[in-house]
């Protein structure tokens, strides 16, 4: 039995009622087909109205759905010959981030991503997909390997955040993420990042610097978990719903802001309703994007990446007022952002 979300309840109840009527028809031989048809039509309308206009908070619930496809599902579904590689070579292996090499569309790639579990036991092993510094360091080790061997990099992001524990702090959680940001910025290898579920703050960004950012339709990406924002703003973590609505964290918001490059549609009702279809959609999108990026000389990628991130932010006053909507038109070229001529030349 699938795990149902609270806002789906009216629909579930209606469907149970239909089942009941159908059984009644069969057992008692009384024809209820007209009633069944009416109710089925009603259920379709109801489903439509629930899933077409999901609130940000409902999307957060879908993004956290325990049956949502995980990073390993995507890797296994999209790639052949996956070889998992372990360890950061400094301290230990971190099962909250998985990584390795695989074959995608016939060529070798490096994959890394946060990994959640399906049940309590698995989640304890995976630390609920919340990585320690060693996880980020393992990811960076594998990504540097990708650069060395000329492989593109695919990162899957689905984490509530980096793990906030005493050991994580002692071993430099901040430093580990910071190192990933600055080193990923300079990698001479194509990087495609996909937020598949939760994009939780710095812990997500630690695998999220790349040439393209894709996001699933009901995924969210936020500077702070909605519950934590509520705790800070209104001293009440149960106001997560209110915070989620105020913070513009959906894929649609981020697409409007020009931060996400592509929003990938999910099967009706969410990725967990048809994981195979979801994986096909992601695979097709990655296939197109990677082909595009692999045509760019690797040395130019950090320069283009710089331009991409340079445009992000909303700043008033000074020489130019900048709003996100302006970006698509003028390319967001700030006077200070102009490339050095010799750097720009190397692009051609």
């Amino acid at each position: 039995m699938a795990v149902e979300l609270p806002f789906e309840k009216p629909l579930i109840e209606l469907r149970l009622k239909i089942e009941e009527l159908k059984r009644f028809t069969e057992e008692k031989g009384i024809d209820m087909s007209v009633e069944v048809a009416t109710l089925e039509a009603k259920a379709r309308v109801l489903a439509e109205s629930i899933y077409r206009d999901l609130t940000p908070w409902q999307k957060v619930q879908i993004a956290r759905h325990p049956e949502r496809p995980t990073t390993l599902d995507y890797i296994r579904g999209m790639c052949d010959d996956f070889v998992e590689l372990h360890g950061d070579r400094c301290f230990r292996e971190d099962a909250a981030i998985i990584g390795g090499i695989a074959r995608f569309d016939g060529y070798p790639i490096t994959v890394v991503g946060t990994q959640k579990g399906r049940d309590t036991k698995e989640n304890i092993f995976r630390n609920f997909g919340m990585a320690h510094p060693e996880g980020y360091r393992k990811a960076l080790r594998l990504m540097k390997q990708a650069e060395k061997f000329g492989r593109p990099i695919l990162t899957f992001i689905d984490t509530a955040g980096a793990y906030p524990g005493a050991g994580a702090e002692e071993r430099g959680q901040g430093e580990a993420i910071a190192r990933n940001l600055v080193d990923m910025a300079g990698l001479r290898a194509p990087i495609v990042c996909i937020v598949t579920g939760e994009g939780g703050s710095g812990g997500a960004l630690g695998l999220g610097i790349g040439d393209r950012l894709l996001m699933l339709e009901h995924a969210y990406y936020s500077v702070i978990a909605p519950e934590s924002a509520a705790a800070l703003l209104w001293k009440d973590a149960s106001q997560g719903q209110r915070a989620a609505n105020a913070m513009s964290i959906t894929a649609q918001d981020l697409s409007r802001f020009g931060i996400v490059d592509e929003v990938l549609p999910e099967p009706f009702g969410g990725a967990h309703r048809d994981p195979a279809a979801m994986i096909r959609t992601v695979k097709a999108a990655v296939s197109v994007v990677l082909a595009e990026l692999m045509a760019i000389p690797p040395a130019n990628l950090p320069i283009l990446r710089y331009d991409k991130y340079r445009r992000m932010g909303v700043v008033m006053g000074g020489a130019i007022d900048r709003r996100p909507a302006d970006d698509s038109e003028d390319g967001g070229g700030l006077p200070g952002a102009e490339l050095e001529p010799e750097v720009q030349d190397s692009r051609h």
């Binding site: 980096a162 906030p164 524990g165 005493a166 994580a168 702090e169 002692e170 071993r171 430099g172 959680q173 901040g174 430093e175 993420i177 910071a178 190192r179 940001l181 600055v182 080193d183 910025a185 300079g186 703050s201 710095g202 960004l205 630690g206 999220g208 610097i209 990406y221 936020s222 500077v223 702070i224 934590s228 924002a229 800070l232 703003l233 105020a246 913070m247 513009s248 964290i249 918001d253 802001f257 931060i259 950090p302 990446r305 710089y306 991130y309 340079r310 992000m312 932010g313 909303v314 700043v315 008033m316 006053g317 000074g318 007022d321 900048r322 709003r323 996100p324 200070g336 952002a337 050095e340």
Partner: protein
Amino acid sequence: MLKDLFPKKRRYATVAPHPGARDKVPEGLIEKCKRCGQILLGKELEKHLKTCPHCGYHFTLTAPERIQITLDEGTFEEFDADLTPGDPLLFPDYPSRVAKAQEATGLKEGVVTGRGTICGNPVVVGVMDSRFIMGSMGSVVGEKLVRAVEAAVGAGLPVVFFTVSGGARMQEGIFSLMQMAKISTALARLSEAGLLYIAVLTNPTTGGVTASFAMQGDIHLAEPGATIGFAGRRIIEPLIRQKLPDEFQTAEFVLEHGMLDQVVHRKDMRALLATVLSLHPQGGETVGCRTAL
């Protein structure tokens, strides 16, 4: 109450202070040390660069104060002083919080950037100010720091950033998070250009700032006792269900765990920066340095 039957004998007459008396001490005349409780005269505190002469506690400095004690007098040229935050998410109360912070600080945003010299060594600096919405990082903080790095790359100068921040600014949502990425890409370019970047971490440096430019320096310095960490103690303690030791996430703790190069008393910071700058190609010659004390 039984206690009321046996009133305590008063041995002295007590005089209640005049209700307005407290307000009559002019601001800045005296200050109480937050660690040892000593009462310090404003002038005395000033002389010690706002550190407690008894216990060494480092009071928080504003960005203008930091610039004044760090750079050579009259050498500071500010960049982009007029940039001010937008409200991209139309977040409840954000514009009024910004306005309040602007009024309280006289600054347009929580970071001051520019160039100047430290004991004759030319340098680009960025100094955060914790009075501005807890020194949080939004689009303008990111933009100003990136422009400062770009100026440094253009002029071949080293960069020193002084951090004090509660992390990414919630009210600008994903834009704040993306400033971490933006500054990181700029610092990658600075590094590529072979230029020095020194991060000086002051109390407190946490969250998204720790997870980006505070920890991306060639050299990491910190002031004694500064709180430095990613996740705050208030988040960790309930999670692990135990109280963390007092020294957890202090500069000294972070030094011991290998994330810092040195913990440096404020009175020695300027001279050390000058020495480090002079040991790097773009530092120029050190032309003598006034000692702070």
